[in-house]
Symmetry: C2
Subunit: 142 residues, 2 copies
């Protein structure tokens, strides 16, 4: 199961790493912060340190297992890498994050990079707006 993914990344299979991976799987499309992972695991009875969470998430990112996103709030959020690239649309009022993918935009980006002599690596497109159901009173819940 998850053991293999961790081993494939060249990392030892340890309890913290397994737990974090499980948690991320359970979170699905939801984006979680390191702090949140930490608190959820503590609440789950795990004995884990915040530093370990950061370390492991960084290692997972390097191994391509998870993706790290930085929105304007300043801190990072993580999600399992499901292989398919996507961009984000964020509601500035309630903090909700949706994902999307638009081939027209992807294509134009490749062209723009090529025109300017860049070997394209990655990109980040984030649309900030206000979602329709912005009655949402839960501002910045982190």
């Amino acid at each position: 199961m998850e053991d293999q993914e961790i081993r494939k990344a060249g990392l030892k299979v340890t309890a913290p790493r397994l737990k974090i991976l499980e948690l991320l799987e359970k979170c699905g499309e939801r984006h979680v912060s390191a702090e949140e992972v930490y608190r959820l695991l503590l609440a789950d009875g795990e004995e884990i340190g915040l530093a370990t969470v950061y370390r492991v998430l960084t290692q997972f990112e390097a191994a391509g297992l998870v993706e790290r996103h930085k929105f304007e709030d300043g801190y990072s959020v993580f999600e399992l890498n499901r292989g398919e690239h996507h961009d984000h649309i964020v509601c500035v009022t309630c903090g909700k994050v949706e994902e999307f993918l638009d081939e027209t935009i992807e294509q134009r980006q490749r062209e723009i990079a090529a025109e300017r002599g860049y070997e394209i690596g990655d990109h980040s497109l984030i649309i900030y707006g206000r979602c329709r159901d912005s009655e949402c009173p839960n501002r910045s819940k982190k």
Copy 2:
């Protein structure tokens, strides 16, 4: 001259604010960090505090005089707002930043936000790549 822009923003015209504005004008398209503004002004013989630089830049941003960008490095960079929106392509090797604007992409973004019921506010598109002349040995010069 610049006095008017500051006054229009509802701010008192003071030496620090004038100097920062001048400096940004001199920088043109270059993106500078708060720290950099601070050091450049000190080097120029100004007596200024880092906190003031941050405060003034934040006020200028609120007034629409400057734009703040956050790249993946973690800290913010600023540039004078010349009125025309643009996106960025950043070289991950040398840190060079170029600007571009693509109407096809802009258009698709508006459509995507509309489709999903968002009142679009702003957006941030950053392409990370490696530029052709990446012999550039000046990694992260901040």
